[in-house]
Symmetry: C2
Subunit: 667 residues, 2 copies
Amino acid sequence: MRYSGEGVAAVAAVEEETAEEALELITVEYEPLPVLLDPLEAMARDDVRIHENVPYNLMYEGNQEFGDPDGALARSAYVLEKEFKTSYVNHAFLEPHAALAAFSPNGELTLYASTQIPHYLHRTLSLVLQMPMHKIRVSVPTVGGGFGGKGEVSSAELCAALLARKTGRPVKVTYERSEVFAQHKGRHPCLIKMKIGVDKDGLIQAVDFDNILDGGAYAGWGIVVLFYTAAMIHLPYKVPNARFRGRRVFTNKPTTGAMRGLGGVQPRFAMESMLDELAGLAGISPYEIRMRNAVESGYTTKSNVYVPHSEFKKCLQTAVEKSGYLEKHGKLPFGRGIGLAGGYYISGTAYTLYMSYKPHSSAMIRVDTEAGVTLYCGATDIGQGSDTVMAQMAAEALGVKYEDVHVVSGDTTLAPFDLGSFASRVTYGTGQAIKMAAAEINKKLFAIAAAELGVRAEHLTAKDYRIFSRFEPKKALDWHQAVEKYIDAQGPLVGVGHYTPPRTGGKFQGGKIGQSPTFGFSAQVTEVEVDLETGRVKVLKVTEAGDCGQAINPMSVEGQVEGSILMGMGQALYEEIKVAPDGKILNPNLHDYKIPTAMELPAIDSTIVESYDPTAPFGAKESGEGPIQPVIPAIANAVADAIGVRFTDLPITPEKVLRALKEKQRG
Amino acid sequence: MRYSGEGVAAVAAVEEETAEEALELITVEYEPLPVLLDPLEAMARDDVRIHENVPYNLMYEGNQEFGDPDGALARSAYVLEKEFKTSYVNHAFLEPHAALAAFSPNGELTLYASTQIPHYLHRTLSLVLQMPMHKIRVSVPTVGGGFGGKGEVSSAELCAALLARKTGRPVKVTYERSEVFAQHKGRHPCLIKMKIGVDKDGLIQAVDFDNILDGGAYAGWGIVVLFYTAAMIHLPYKVPNARFRGRRVFTNKPTTGAMRGLGGVQPRFAMESMLDELAGLAGISPYEIRMRNAVESGYTTKSNVYVPHSEFKKCLQTAVEKSGYLEKHGKLPFGRGIGLAGGYYISGTAYTLYMSYKPHSSAMIRVDTEAGVTLYCGATDIGQGSDTVMAQMAAEALGVKYEDVHVVSGDTTLAPFDLGSFASRVTYGTGQAIKMAAAEINKKLFAIAAAELGVRAEHLTAKDYRIFSRFEPKKALDWHQAVEKYIDAQGPLVGVGHYTPPRTGGKFQGGKIGQSPTFGFSAQVTEVEVDLETGRVKVLKVTEAGDCGQAINPMSVEGQVEGSILMGMGQALYEEIKVAPDGKILNPNLHDYKIPTAMELPAIDSTIVESYDPTAPFGAKESGEGPIQPVIPAIANAVADAIGVRFTDLPITPEKVLRALKEKQRG
């Protein structure tokens, strides 16, 4: 066992009580081993290896250098170097991991799982069970939240499948909350050293970034997170020179992994905190330093990442104007403060987790005379509402009502391939596939309508169940009639589409690195009140402005913004998994692990800025992970504005605030 | 109420007990009305109308005349006229009607139903609920038998949907056995008058057929059954002149409808019984008279129905040879007898039940790199194994293993349109659609393989997961590789297909009436022993030979034959719904309504004769309803051979046998 709470046995029984009794009958003898909880200590102790083959518990070290960071720092007018420490937080999704496995009489396994990644789960099941993938079906029912924590295969899923095979009976496994914490895969605690140099005008010259990531006991998505923290310093500001050193270290704790805004949240906390201080050094406002450095559409990073579209400046302007930031910053009474921060995130990734050349997203649309439109796509609605958005996009492209579209998603047998719901990839990627599939349907229907109406098919468009000429809108055919004519003569009316993001050297980006096909941006202004007696930080209001391209479903976008703000607030102020010296988690439940509730909800004023990404389906980019990026630094900047203390160690608890206030008084 | 047991109210509750209690709290006051149970009496009593607008309770009268039956009868060497009476029997499927209705938050209804006809149910729900069809999904889970009884919409389905809408909760309705009998839709009792004339060689000159069908209280499929009894006299023997008069009459009993071999079983009993007697008059054997009159491939009936393919003579030969019929008939000791009969049935129908021009069957195949082959088709597996047969046909056409094909069937949202599982239409009709869909997949894969292998695509074929040249079989490409290449470059690999049977004036049949695209044939020789003390008829052995074209799944065909024989035996010897003078069913349960069990199972020797229908997919025709046609007359003919008594009134109970034996002794 490499951490306290690691699974060693699984028991299946007809009732839970019997299973519990059986578990109690299993005696496991544990020989206590040294416990390494701190990554710095773990790197120093080669005598205690958590994995025998990993010296100094250093799972991975990655280094990158772009341009001449040392020279640029030396030439900078102002250089700031600081250390930051981020905390060990869990996703705290409401529905715990759950899986139900059943073998059919012909030996085929169906696994119903609360997962973000039916495809990767499908693949892992095949490897673990040594069964061909086509003998396994993964189907995702309604999911009560994932946030990255259901973006890796869970032991619940594998145990359910293995026990079902062993028993020949369906087996369901649902985690208790403590097991969710043990499975974890939450945010990597990071020890960050960051050095930033700016010229006299506040223009960034270089970023030198050293990041030690506490990986917990296993690898998981660790390397991905490590390199994402590296990538995340190149945007949303122009960074002409950069160095990155990243080390992911094993410790005797539940494994860290992917969590909303993966890789971005920790360096963003550091960088946006430092920008405020650098602005002070350069004698300009925090807003001004951001506007001067902010990237615009068509920018290419020094790391060769292309940004096709950005309304980041508009986000900053909007948040600042709507909040009155400039009027308030530095001018509020002691204990009240206002902070600004920016952020961005990817809209999908360029590569699969294993070598593969297939499309990352695909979609199939079938139109029936009577049953209407069925949209089959492998993307998975994990509570973010992607089924609705996909229905909307199909409906818009077809000219029908979105409520009339049946969505069949998250099922490896029923729907065509999709990589899954992570990295904010669904709207942009699956959206492209849906548009293409709808175009095939339209091509078939427009050919019929063109003949009926005596117009050219390429002049036709469809809206509100009518197919009509753009130039003579009165020349119209009822959509259902066209469908009926097609099916009567030619049978099932089906269209397919697919999407692969541009890769390195791809045409779309002219040889740029294909980190993500596009990016969403966000800016937030946060007002806080610090209770000078208790040290408690209260978030009063968050003014957010986001560039998610054209919002397909504004209510969903707002939901993502509000959820991101609450989740970021949790990490900023409250949440931290506490581990005892023997490695036991002290607060593996939602009583002792405090997440913000409706009671802590600040006033939120969110704006979807006018935006349309021409590379995107219906102009839409990500909105689920970008908005979490500015939350923590905006709060930290607001706290600094309120009490003149800059916290670099999360969470900003009342204890830390009181201690700082006392030190300040003493100082 | 038009019959005892007719539904007047439906109650939903959380538990069954509460529902029962609520039902007891409903007081219904019934005013007793005259009860008409006999169709002859019903036709005589215009003063008692079961439906106000139907004079003389005559629901429908149909008349047909082909050629000159009167002249032909007058010129016949031998003319026989007889009356027959068939009984009131139920399908007795094991699983009662069941339905589960649930509305989603967006107002869409999903109805899970044990039905043969998801499409017609879909349509009826739309009419009854006044909801558009695309807001309703009908999904058919594993079904425990239908035999025609689930070929009409059930009140269980409508009540579940209406109560779910009313309560806002999911509602499940499962019938008790007595409710199955009340819903009924079983076999029409018929009063048959049949006159057949043959020439001196036993060649049929004319059939004059008068049929009064007891319809019970409602219409249902009644007219269809009426005209099917009319059609059924034109085959499997050549009938150059024919007259039909059919009357379907309302009575105060549960409604009759479709039951396995619909419309064929009753006239077959009459005609095959009479052929034995006519053979005697003509001085030839019952075998000879059948062989002389039997139709062959390419025959067109006087009613203008085209028979593209028939191996009926081979069926007669095989059954007679394998059973030793010629050696035994007329030569067994008193009390032992052997009987021969022939039969046939349609493989689908030409028309939908409402005006429509869309394909009757359609199929969609999607091939995935990893998830394998998914076959979507609306056809419904009702226990007959159509999912397996469809998987086999897709696999054969694609060159993959049938166990690897995922079948998605019986679902109006997930699968493309299909009329349903009735009239033995699935293998032939849906099979054509599947073949076409597979051909589209093959076309796409062969294009890739042709380029890879440097051969012409039209020379390629696929088998055992290899695509290879028919002329140079060593030039082969792994099927999975071809799929991967296709999907990597072009996205989802999908093929669609559809099938519409030829209609009147259609090209395929050169203007012939499109009753069915083709027909299956069957011959049976049955040996019985009559217990002279108890009157009990024991079926000792059935030697069956069937022409179902090429059997796709011989085990399924055998199962259909064996099931047909048992079901026919039930109607011949045991089964009869008994109705008291007040209209109450006396035996609405499987204790008192006796169906044959394993105890009554005779030895069955069934042969699938060598056959390949060139119009059919993989040469396959029906096998589920043809084999029931000869069962009853073969038993009746065997009983006549055993004791010299010809029964014309079903079932042939011990009482009737004993009475006949006594009369014979007296006579």
